[in-house]
């Protein structure tokens, strides 16, 4: 790729990037979130079309205007968000987009062959909506191989996998390399880069920084390249004081609308003055856990007991909806995983979003706009939210600013319990640290903080204790100061070989 540039409106996502991939190697594309890695790769796979620049394959200039063109040049991309049709079988998804007569039996056989060759484990006739995340990823990889791709691009493939599944994936990647294929893996996890790749290319804020052979690199040098200046990887973690139980979960069991058990007999205690981490493979029940506590998910059995910090009285939250909880005087804040789909209203400005928490306040039928407006102004300034005005739709803000608005609002509720789900997903390092600090601040104020996270390094450095979920059950509670990643990884997959259906 030579001098490739892509703009979205005024934002330059990639600026004059030169990148080279050699045959039979694994190249890591390293960069922070928002540094333009995915955009760059989307241009290789034909999803986006570059504004400027030229792509060469085997030395010949080529035009990749559509994903079809990319296939024809042997480029296949495994997207972070799987591009699969849920109601189709694995085979139907794999042959999607190919030409010629449709023969699913024949295709099914060929899929089996590929699986045997590289060591995949999927059933060609299984429907996608019945599959686990790692199985879906496998379908994506088989799909690309089925088309005879010799350049594979994997966009953050490990984000949804357990350490064990990651190891398996890396082994498969090495098999493919041995088979003469070239691979690009997009990631921001340094140890993975060092583990699997031959060469590392680094992007920062849409600019190409440089590349190094993996054997010449270490964690520190790569971090420097990635963020531009050395950052301390340490998160400030004061020792908790005055730890008292705030929420006690006992035997919590929930079912989703299809009748599948999502939480199974979950019991643990959330303490005031402590950050409690929740770890687990994606879809192990984290969402259901937080939503059950917040009154958004029907609880089949078990209890959630709340200890009032003012008078020590207890209340059972089961059967309450968010409004009941609020009315009974419990200040519970919740930063959900789906920011614009659940925590905020995308088409409204900051003020309108502040009202989500306060719209009922005041007597009469009319809204109070004054207080939310003041709160919006305060968050705008204190958290340095980048937005032209408090009425600017939050959907048009960048991910980091959206999250600041959401977290700012939730903290402003002066909560007794603060629950966060993937609070730093998609944020740059600086904003992430802002969030970590805010959470720690809340902890020191004596608030019970729950932090659902996916990055085990952060969990281990930020939290005091970590609850590990696996298949809807608590597989262990560990002390974050003494536990290590392997231990948590093992707990994440303890049951039934890591059953992780979403």
């Amino acid at each position: 790729m030579e001098n490739v540039t892509k703009r979205f409106g005024k934002v330059v996502a990639n600026n004059a990037i030169n990148l080279e991939l050699r045959e039979g190697e694994i190249l890591s594309l390293l960069g922070e979130n928002g540094s333009g890695k995915t955009t760059l790769m989307n241009m290789l796979s034909g999803i986006y079309f570059p504004d400027e620049g030229q792509i060469y394959i085997h030395g010949k200039p080529v035009t990749i205007a559509s994903p079809k063109d990319a296939f024809n040049y042997g480029i296949g991309m495994i997207h972070q968000h799987f591009k699969l049709v849920d109601v189709f079988t694995a085979t139907e998804n794999i042959v999607l987009g190919l030409e010629g007569k449709l023969d699913l039996t024949e295709a099914g056989k060929k899929v089996k062959e590929i699986c045997d060759k590289y060591g995949f484990d999927i059933d060609p006739n299984q429907k996608i909506y019945d599959m686990s995340v790692s199985q879906k990823q496998t379908v994506e990889i088989v799909k690309v191989l089925f088309r005879g791709a010799d350049i594979l691009i994997l966009d953050e493939p490990t984000a949804v996998l357990t350490p064990q599944e990651t190891d398996k994936l890396f082994q498969i990647m090495r098999n493919m390399k041995a088979d003469g294929k070239s691979l690009i893996i997009i990631t921001h996890k340094l140890h993975e880069v060092l583990d699997v790749s031959d060469r590392v290319a680094v992007l920062r804020k849409g600019e190409y920084i440089g590349d190094v052979a993996t054997k010449d690199a270490d964690q520190q040098s790569l971090t420097d390249m990635m963020v531009g200046h050395s950052v301390s990887l340490n998160i400030d973690r004061p020792d908790p004081v005055n730890v008292t139980p705030r929420l006690v979960l006992d035997g919590l069991t929930v079912f989703d609308e299809l009748g599948v058990k999502r939480l199974d007999n979950v019991s643990f205690t959330v303490n005031a003055g402590e950050v409690l981490g929740v770890a687990g493979v994606a879809g192990s029940g984290q969402r259901e856990l937080l939503e059950s506590i917040a009154g958004l998910y029907p609880i089949a059995s078990g209890s959630v007991t709340y200890y009032d910090p003012a008078d020590g009285k207890t209340k059972n939250l089961v059967g309450m909806d968010p409004m009941d909880i609020r009315k009974s005087g419990i200040a519970m804040s919740f930063v959900p995983e789906d920011r614009l789909g659940m925590g905020l209203v995308g088409s409204m400005g900051m003020t309108g979003n502040m009202m989500l928490r306060s719209w009922r306040k005041g007597h009469g039928v009319f809204l109070n706009r004054k207080d939310p407006e003041d709160l919006a102004q305060r968050i705008w300034q204190e958290l340095e939210v980048v937005t032209p005005s408090t009425s600017f739709p939050v959907r048009r803000m960048s991910g980091g600013n959206v999250q600041k608005v959401l977290v700012g609002r939730e903290i402003a509720q002066a909560p007794a319990v603060l629950m966060t789900a993937y609070a730093v997903r998609g944020l740059d390092i600086n904003t992430s640290y802002t969030i970590y600090n805010l959470l720690t601040e809340q902890k020191m104020k004596g608030i019970a903080v729950m932090y659902v996270g996916e990055d085990l390094d952060v969990l281990l450095e930020l939290c005091d204790r970590i609850v590990v979920l696996c298949g809807g059950q608590v597989s262990g509670v560990v002390d974050a100061r003494t536990a290590d990643k392997r231990q948590i990884g093992a707990l994440m997959t303890r049951m039934e070989g890591g059953k992780t259906d979403e």
Binding site: F49, E52, Q54, D69, L340, M342, G343, G352, L356, F366
Partner: protein, 364 residues
Amino acid sequence: MNKKQSLFHIAKRDTLPWYKSFAIRGCAILLALVVCAVVTMLLTGENPVNIFATIFKGAFGSARKSWVTFQNLAVLLGISLAVTPAFKMRFWNIGAEGQVLIGCLATAACMICLADKLPNAVLILVSLAAALAAGALWGFLPAFFKAKWNTNETLFTLMMNYIATQLAAFFIIVWEVPKGAGKIGIINQGTEAGWLPVVGGQKYLLVILVVAVLTVFMYIYLNYSKHGYEIAVVGESQRTASYAGIKVERVIVRTMVLSGAVCGLMGLLLTAGTDHTLTTTIVGGRGFTAVMVSWMAKFNPIIMIFTSLLLVVLGRGASEISSTFGLNQSFSDILTGIILFFIIGSEFFITYQVSLRKSGKKEA
């Protein structure tokens, strides 16, 4: 598509200043009017100036015509206002036709069955209550199933239209005057029982006043009330709404009951206020047109005054053209269609930016 992709570059716009988006819409309407004029020219051989003059004459040519235009405007606007809260909630209610008709039916029932049993003022109040309740019921049913089981509301409300039509047809035969006529005629022509009072000596003034009040009410309701806020949040995302402690099911049902009741009110105004009769076609497709009026105005009650005015003037003008030049009455539907297509199409240029890709840099 690939060729086109490399010729045109389409990107989502940041927010467009309001005057620009209005300019785009204005251009679309102008273009649409030109196309309408060309079509009319081809069909009548008349020159465009005459055509527009005829349209204007049809709408405002005499005091009577102006009154009719304003009455039509009021009815269309009223129904549009009725459907708006539901649409803001992303509830695709295309059943206004049936909700208004069932209001008409309820009113007619009261006027016919209770005419000699109640004093006039009480009769009107009873009619009002009946019309509101009937419309509310027609709004409640689809909303209830939508809220409980997520039943597709577009088709549900559509079917409810036909059920209302057949009910009306049934009662028209039951009450037909004279027997065997298959229609009702003017109800209580002699006694005028149950007729809404005439305000200020103008038969249509009352309707216009009621709708004017309704417009202001709806504007305030949607923008400044707690209910309005709940509707906006539910429309954006039901998950966000329940997260914020809004009872989604209740909001859906309540909003549709309101929508239906306002439609019922419009039914009362039609049957007891202006037409004094009941036919299966008394609503005349305005329940569907209202959807487009509301959508074109981006659900803003004030802008709706102008969008419904546009359609009403055009419709009245087109029927003037058809009678002047001996064309079929359906001509106005065609003109309305053309205008709508242009306005619908123009939204694209407000949301997206289209620029020519420089052909020299096509390969990359």
